[in-house]
């Protein structure tokens, strides 16, 4: 058992309904405990089905701080294995993504089938019959998939993924409509790190309040239509607590369901694209593709590591208490029109990544949060914005206005519930 599990700092006093202690960002013991109590005990997103579409396709990923391999076997089943040889621990894979028939340890040559079973042990006469290969498969996680999102868990007795996602499933379904009837596919990713705690980024995905200030330079550089659309403080959006730590922030209410309002006029910014698409698509298809091309008008935050964020996946990878890796995975239409996928790539490059017009400014303020949190450790991080006007819906979900800190409160409630379970 991880020592941190038994000596986890008392979390009860650290999280109140509307504020949390700043040691949440700075305490290394807390970080260790989070990896054990949250990341090793819940469903963690590891891949999109399109990343490992064919038999034998694999990618490397992480669950908490543990390296794993996500692989599709010859029959199409997806496995997630700890990337560690059962002999003396060397990784059996150091290729980020690819296709293979087996995983072979480079140290002594133990080889594993795609389902994780140990197949070959070189010079096994040295064991004189005292080794049973069935005892040494790669350690496997439980795997489930919803709408192409593949999650893994170290807990084999965990609740079904569908139950864990609960109220978020409806929003995942809406998010997937942005491939306009084509299969959704990943189109590459931007990856960057910032010197700060992972929860700073988790909070940000449902933080509308920062947008007009931190992203002023993006709003200045973009076209007038996008600027008006992204005036999110004034567009009637909302944030909803979806349970289990998940939440959604609706920034552009008119872009929640991309199958609706197909008769709306085509925005000027997409007129050239629409004209190009019209050469080999029906008017109805053109409208559907154009409406979906900029992504959805909401950010869905799935606790603890995935954001289905407007037009891309945001993946959080904690590195240490004060270091976090963020990946922004671009999405597109598999087999869809080249012009539309190009438009999606350019939209992604404009805002995202270490050289975009948005992400570096986010990274800068998160860095500042981590630095500032070194001071005034007796002070609280305030998450009380929008508590007064928050309403409770018929299904029990809480909903606040677009800039309410409802999503952060939801995440920390789940954080607390998981951290208080000792083993």
């Amino acid at each position: 058992m991880n020592i941190a599990v038994t000596v986890a700092p008392d979390s009860a006093g650290l999280v109140l309904p509307d504020r949390v202690r700043s040691s949440m960002y700075t305490d290394p013991a807390m970080f260790e405990a989070e990896m054990a109590r949250i990341f090793e005990r819940t469903w963690v997103w590891v891949a999109h089905a399109s990343e490992i579409a064919e038999p034998g396709a694999f990618k490397m990923a992480m669950v908490g701080l543990q390296p794993v391999i996500v692989v599709r076997d010859r029959k199409g089943a997806v496995h997630v294995h700890v990337n560690r040889c059962r002999h003396r621990a060397a990784t059996v894979c150091e290729v980020a993504k690819g296709k293979t028939n087996s995983f072979v340890c480079p140290y002594h040559g133990w080889s594993y089938a795609l389902d994780g079973s140990l197949r070959g042990v070189p010079y096994d006469t040295g064991y004189a019959g005292a080794i049973d290969k069935r005892e040494f498969p790669l350690k496997s996680l439980r795997v489930e998939e919803y709408a192409g999102l593949i999650f893994a868990s170290f807990r084999h007795d965990i609740e079904p993924l569908a139950d864990f996602l609960g109220g978020a499933k409806k929003w995942i379904d809406l998010f997937m409509k942005q491939s306009a009837g084509y299969p959704l596919t990943t189109l590459g990713e931007h990856k960057f790190r910032f010197p700060g705690n992972w929860k700073i980024q988790l909070e940000n995905t449902t933080d509308a309040y920062h947008f007009p200030l931190v992203h002023k330079s993006f709003l200045t550089a973009t076209d007038k239509e996008t600027e008006a659309m992204m005036d999110i403080m004034n567009n009637g959006g909302f944030v909803e607590d979806l349970g289990n730590g998940h939440s959604v922030m609706v920034m552009v209410p008119g872009l929640v369901d991309l199958d609706e309002n197909l008769d709306a006029p085509i925005p000027r910014k997409f007129e050239a694209l629409a004209a190009k698409l019209a050469q080999d698509h029906s008017a109805q298809e053109v409208r559907r593709i154009v409406r979906a091309v900029g992504g959805t008008g909401f950010n869905l935050n799935l606790f603890p590591n995935l954001g289905c964020s407007a037009a891309f996946f945001r993946v959080l990878q904690p590195i240490s208490v004060d270091e976090t890796e963020v990946r922004h995975v671009a999405l597109g239409m598999q087999g869809g029109p080249k012009a539309a996928n190009r438009a999606r790539l350019r939209i992604h490059e404009f805002f995202q990544g270490p050289m975009g017009f948005g992400s570096p400014d986010d990274a800068e303020v998160w860095d500042r949060v981590q630095h500032g949190a070194q001071g005034g450790k007796d002070l609280w991080l305030m998450l009380n914005r929008g508590t007064v006007n928050e309403e409770t819906l018929a299904d029990g979900h809480r909903r606040g206005d677009v800039s309410a800190e409802t999503g952060m409160r939801a995440a920390y409630r789940q954080w607390k519930a998981m951290m208080e379970v000792a083993s």
């Binding site: 189109l187 200045t220 890796e325 190009r342 490059e349 270490p354 570096p360």
Partner: protein, 164 residues
Amino acid sequence: MNLPVMTPAIGLDEAMHFAWLEADLLDHACYDEWLALWTPQARYVVPIDPAATEFEDCLNYIYDDHDMRRKRTERLVSGQSISASPVARTVRLLSRFRILQADHSACELRCAQMLTENRRGRTRSYAANVSHRLVRDAGTLKIDQKIVRLINSTEALGGIGYIL
């Protein structure tokens, strides 16, 4: 018999001095002069995939036409971007120049770039292979394409709020 007047191919010396000029303008934040170095249809590309050649159809860090280059420079001086207030100070060294192909009107130049940045107490460095396609335009050279291939492009990077 009349022989055609032969304009000499763009040479290493001329191309190298041009690349150094560009590097100097960027390190000294002379963005208007930098913008004037490009042909109207030129692209400035920072790819992710080391093997990529069809940049338009894949995800890059940067795939800038003239309009995007202009916006990128405006962002660096507007004061609206917190990651560029102040802009990181940079020093870039360009060396290991080689002309891969040249005639009198255009050349492909490849070189190594070692860039060091300092900002808010942190110093970072980025190594890259840089390729320029230079064209002769009314007697002077212009950049028709610049590709910056960071050697760690597939790794997680820090925020890069300046022009590579």
